[in-house]
Amino acid sequence: MADIVPTAAEDIPSAEVAEVDLYHAKSWWTKYVFSQDAKVIAVQYSCTAIAIGLVALVLSWLMRLQLGFPESFSFIDASDYYQFITMHGMIMVIYLLTALFLGGFGNYLIPLMVGARDMVFPYVNMLSFWVYLLAVVVLVASFFVPGGPTGAGWTLYPPQAILSGTPGSEYGIILMLVSLALFIIGFTMGGLNYVVTVLQARTRGMTLMRMPLTVWGIFVATILALLAFPALFVGAVMMLFDRILGSSFFMPAIVVMGEQLSYSGGSPILFQHLFWFFGHPEVYIVALPAFGIVSDLLSVHARRHIFGYRMMVWAIVIIGALSFVVWAHHMYVSGMNPWFGFFFATTTLIIAVPTALKVYNWTLTLWRANIQLTLPMLFALAFIVTFVNGGITGLFLGNVVVDVPLSDTMFVVAHFHMVMGVAPLLVIFGAIYHWYPLMTGRMLDEKMGKFHFWVTFIGTYTIFLPLHYLGILGVPRRYFEMGDTSFIPDSAQDLNAFITVAALIVGFAQLVFLYNLFRSLRHGKISERNPWKAASLEWQTAAYPPGHGNFGEHLPVVYRWAYDYGVPGAPDDFIPQNVPNNAVAESHAEAPSAADDAEAPRT
């Protein structure tokens, strides 16, 4: 990489650096509750997301119990089952994964990694969390209204989403749509902050091409979200009109129970287009931060620079751009013009190119590296394997002719759980094990972590590999119970019972993980500074863990990329980003010593 000289010190806009006191909280309330500190907001986001995620976890157990042992549970009927499915899907995709990656990791890591004091507009950032919390409260409220939450499936397809007969069509669907709209409003406030912080608030020397890939992933994912959520917002508003005011945006003329409803002339397919114009980028809103974070985890814990940094950045950008032109591959069986299917299959398969490029680069990063099998590394490796598996089944589903027989079977369920459920969650776990010391100053317990890892990794395969098989057999998704069929062997039910047992065990392992999170707050091993010997800025702060305003009196100056690992001759085998070429500092002190040490060898 070419040498880039940081901008001279006097070029710093004074309003953005000098006012350190701006970032100090004045009271307990503004420090911990109505905090404008991105780090506290990140923790608030994460805790809320994990709490609502627990609800989704319990729902998945209930669904699995029903599928594995049908007719054994009198408290689960078909309506309940649809409500479980809907809420499980919605919570996991939007309220857990999106909120945790962007609201949680985005808030925590962006300002620290680009060398900023905070997000550019901390007050708006705070509002973002409170609106998100309101969205979650509205969502939870739908469990307690008459009729319960909506059971329309997480895609909320009209007309059935708002017709009587679908569980939750009284109030559940209204609260669901309102909650989504609120989530989008809240997210927009945060998302604007993340984008502007990355673009306009980096420290001296931090060029775009020196940002850690974590920041790149979250940055591009946020842009996707800002452009994709509008489609869901508009769809939600229009469906609210249909449900509350009786308009017919999505509702064709329809007869229910022998009675002609007042709807006429709407287009149900329009909603599917709107939903998937949001829905497909949403996959990458979840995946791109995972890509970025896993790149950093691999590089740090393999003590080797990321292979092909520039390619990795461009792959993220290209995947992001392509994700806007593939949405209708979710609609091959919806009744589209076949030419559309051809177009969308082509674009879908093209995405495999930059994605495969990333997988090769991760693998090449590990080539002859000094791999440390720490917990974050284990999860990162598990991610690569899982992501490849999920990606390969994606090639099946991306092709129209192969997709049509597999549509609406358990194969689809297994595919998206592997690729956008398990894979990003593995990265989230790895990231939490990696950054927990930075957040709390303590390490997570290694033994519990190992248990959590092996049960989760092997367990998810015992759940989802058989599920692919069931899908190929023709077991449909979203069926409350199979009953007697002529084409599915009875043994499929044994497999279902096996999957259920596996799912319960994996779920239990997540409780161990949560226990570990809480226990280590008090009883975890005290972490030394920068325990993983990482080069990026978040570990080079004056206070450890970083305090208000992130850095000390002066912002760090960046002289190199974030991947100078395994450098021969460097102390501790790596060089932090804020160490100048002519002074490889002995420690991770913020101001590099003026003494002329040996010239740092460059990679």
Partner: protein, 219 residues
């Protein structure tokens, strides 16, 4: 070092607030585009004939109906308000407190007039002509629902704009931006760049109206 991949800022000399407004407007553009695209889809998929806009939106003065006259006036007013906004930005950068404040207020007044006329238009459609979101006597039911939804969403944007224009005019008049008074939300010292940021929003709302006008009233 002028390239946008260099350190610190991608867009040199662009303040944070202005950058944020631009990105918000891109996102908002998507919202309005999707509203309009959905309207076009619904309009072409509906089974009943679409009402004739030039007849629905006609006003009679002394017996003779003039097509689209109210919309023409509203559009004229909104575009005039863009002119006063531009002048306000200009005088803001010259730190001319009084003129900036007056022009901001004038912009707000034009905006308020626009919203008022829209309220009149809505009342006329609802009360006199019986247009409802779920039905109308002239034709396709989706006419009413798209009309109220899209113009309502735009009118909401204008109303928010008017509110902020008034707040901004008050701050300019008090001299907050001459003294570098700290903002309520941001706790940072404000300056006259905020007038331009406000202007971006206002011109955007105008521009959106041009599209709504073209696609809804002229089609």
């Amino acid at each position: 070092m002028g390239d946008w991949a260099s350190d610190q800022r991608a867009f040199k000399n662009v303040p944070w607030g202005k950058a944020m407004m631009w990105i918000f407007l891109v996102s908002d553009t998507f919202i309005f585009s999707i509203f309009l695209l959905s309207y076009m889809t619904v309009r072409s998929s509906t089974t009943v004939a679409w009402p004739h806009p030039s007849e629905v939106f006609a006003l009679s003065f002394g017996g003779e109906p003039i097509p689209l006259i109210l919309i023409a006036i509203m559009t004229f007013i909104l575009i005039t308000s863009s002119g006063t906004m531009v002048l306000a930005v200009n005088y803001g950068y010259r730190k001319d407190r009084a003129k900036t404040a007056m022009l901001l207020l004038a912009t707000a007044a034009f905006g308020a007039a626009f919203v008022g006329m829209q309220a009149f238009e809505w009342t006329k459609l609802i009360v006199e002509e019986g247009v409802r979101p779920w039905s109308n006597p002239m034709g396709a039911a989706q006419f009413g629902s798209t009309f109220f939804m899209i113009t309502g969403f735009h009118g909401f944007h204008v109303s928010i704009g008017v509110l902020f224009l008034i707040i901004l005019a008050r701050k300019v008049w008090r001299g907050d931006y001459d003294r570098g008074e700290r903002g309520f939300f941001t706790s940072r010292k404000g300056n006259y760049e905020i007038v331009e940021t406000m202007g971006l929003y206002w011109h955007f709302v105008d521009l959106v109206w041009v599209f709504i006008f073209a696609f809804f009233y002229l089609w």
